[in-house]
Symmetry: C2
Subunit: 385 residues, 2 copies
């Protein structure tokens, strides 16, 4: 059996030489294992497809000393052979990849910084993403819901970008929950510049992840590639605010492809940053969520996380219908009226109206007075009869 540290070194090398997603490299690993795959790539003894994915960086090397140095810098390389590898959430990628969906190749390994174990962190997780140019409304929703979800023991996963992502991380951190970030650059890229403190705080209790080595800079295609992990590692994706084109919608689209729940938050039609959400809702690509409980319900385990239906406010006359409602409506609040008048007004025959008035009286909804009947307060029987 191959030593786990040898495997880890091999995967570190594979991650360094292949820009993800690297389907040919992944196929080679599946065929002959990571150690032999790394050896073959070093020797150049690989099919063309693998060569194409690796020649540009073929000269790179990763040594045990390199791995030790990253460990000193607080990072670890998490590999599929580790107990904490999130097999279950990542299975969705494998299924999509198997169906032939492009770009769904699973990660070769993941660089991580933070104490959270991936299998536990992503057992119950929700992805919250949205516009970098969010409004106060969107940031408020993202932070509040993340706080509530974290309090329910749910990991909040996001991309550490400005705007909605940042608010989502902050909300879960404020609740003392596990926040998880997946970056589109290396863990030491220092991006985004204004979120370095936030990323340190996430790494204190949660986990910051990346497929990219060291200080690999951010790039647009890397964000798109990264988004498949944001979509895969949780049970569902909530888009809080998004323009009509946005990375958040890309993540949501991937989540849908992976068979995960896709949710969107409505906002005012007058706000451009909600227009993407509205488009997703109108097209049926996302389900509308109004509270963190709705989110829990949409991603939750049946019967456990079911949101309680909000109770509509009740009025004393709610039970009334048909003749009773007509007669009650005909009553005046203060002035008394005869049964004949009430019958004509309500269109209910006199005998029936009289019976209804007595029934209403029992609930305090009608009241006898000198002139006949008037409306009751609904607070139980009156003594003026």
């Amino acid at each position: 059996m191959t030593d786990i540290s040898e495997i880890r070194l091999a995967r570190a090398y594979l991650l360094a030489v292949a820009e993800p997603p690297a389907p040919a490299v992944a196929a080679l690993i599946a065929e002959c294992g990571p150690v032999e795959a790394a050896g073959r790539i070093r020797d150049g003894a690989v099919p063309d497809a693998v060569a194409k994915e690796t020649t540009a960086r073929g000269g790179r090397e990763v040594t045990g000393a390199d791995l030790a140095r990253t460990q000193e810098a607080g990072m670890r390389l998490i590999i599929p052979e580790d107990d904490e590898w999130p097999q279950w959430p990542l299975l969705s990628l494998r299924v999509a990849d198997g169906r032939g969906v492009a770009g769904m190749t699973g990660p070769i390994a993941l660089w991580g910084r933070g104490p959270a174990q991936l299998n536990e962190a992503f057992d119950r997780a929700v992805t919250i993403v949205g516009s970098r140019t969010a409004t106060g409304y969107g940031e408020h929703i993202a932070a509040e819901w993340s706080y509530t979800l974290a309090q329910s023991g749910v990991t909040v996963l996001s991309g550490a970008a400005y705007g909605i992502d940042g608010a989502a991380h902050r909300g879960s951190l404020a609740a003392g929950g596990v926040s998880a970030a997946v970056l589109g650059c290396g863990l030491d890229a220092g991006y985004p510049a204004g979120h370095q403190t936030l990323l340190r705080r996430i790494a204190e209790r949660g986990i910051v992840l990346s497929e990219y080595t060291d200080a690999a800079p951010p790039a647009r295609h890397r964000f798109l590639v990264r988004n498949r992990l944001l979509a895969a590692l949780s049970a569902g994706t909530v888009v809080v605010e998004a323009d009509r084109r946005s990375g958040a919608r890309n993540t949501a689209g991937t989540a849908a492809t992976l068979g995960k729940a896709v949710m969107a938050v409505p906002g005012p039609l007058t706000s451009r940053t909600s227009s993407g959400c509205h488009e997703m809702l109108r097209s049926g690509d996302a389900r509308l969520v109004t509270t963190a409980d709705d989110v829990l319900e949409d991603v939750g385990r049946l019967g456990i996380d079911l949101a309680r239906p909000a109770e509509p406010p009740r009025r004393g006359t709610d039970r009334l219908s048909g003749d009773a409602l007509r007669v009650h409506d005909a009553l005046l609040p203060r002035a008394g009226r005869s049964v004949q008048w009430i019958a004509a007004e309500s269109g209910v025959p006199v005998a029936k109206a009289r019976a209804v008035l007595c029934a209403l009286e029992l609930d305090g909804l009608s009241q006898r007075c000198e002139a006949g009947w008037r409306r009751g307060s609904g607070r139980g029987r009156c003594d003026t009869g």
Copy 2:
């Protein structure tokens, strides 16, 4: 053949003695015609069910002089025997009634004030309803959309209540369109007090309708009964703002029962007056609409009123994918880099990267410089090559 004025008089009487909806009276009319039905009710020679619907007001009478007086007051009684009777929209009530849905009895006749002919006005109509305690946001949407719909020749139908209803009427009036109101009280009830000028303006160009005689006061059950006409007389109902319980949702529910389009406007989750809309959207009871064009599309005639899909903004790099996107992402905006550097950064083999850089150059997306290649502006080929 019975004279039309005799029929009109009979129906005026039937409307006066039966509180709508009066299914037994309607059945009697269907059986023996309005004139004989009125005669039998006057004589008391009717089945129990009819008697129950009419005895409370059996003593009322309507004479030709009464009708002449209402005509002088600017009202007319519109009856199913009139050419302008909106047969087609009201067919939906007949179908639902025939299916046994309670409360869907069609009107015996309608009191109207205003020049609009009902069959024309309701040929293309949209109902816009919502909260009486609307916000500025909701009133803005209701007024703007009604304006746009009116400009498209669509009649805007509403209930003349404060809030959304009033804004909807005002929007269509401002566009010089046909506004239509259906009241839950008589046309001379003076309700709502603050909307008497608005109702006069609607009656100048459009139509104000009611099943209730003269000054019959408003009542809760009358609004519920009225709502079936708001739902039936248009092709679809838009709820702009609604609390979790509201008359607007009742109208929308009836519209759904009648097989009409039901639409709701999203708003901020922090606004209570949008909560009913969000509930309807989340439950799937309504379709989300973001513009008046969306409304037209949802109620419109296929191929005529189809909303143009909004064009997402385009960027110069939109067509890029795969290797081209990777290479472009690796380019720096100002500093030039060697092809080898770009290949390693992008993970694209050197030979391929060189070909891609040349292709990008044709679109102005890459630019040759002394140090190698840098990012182009995307505004066509540069002369610095």
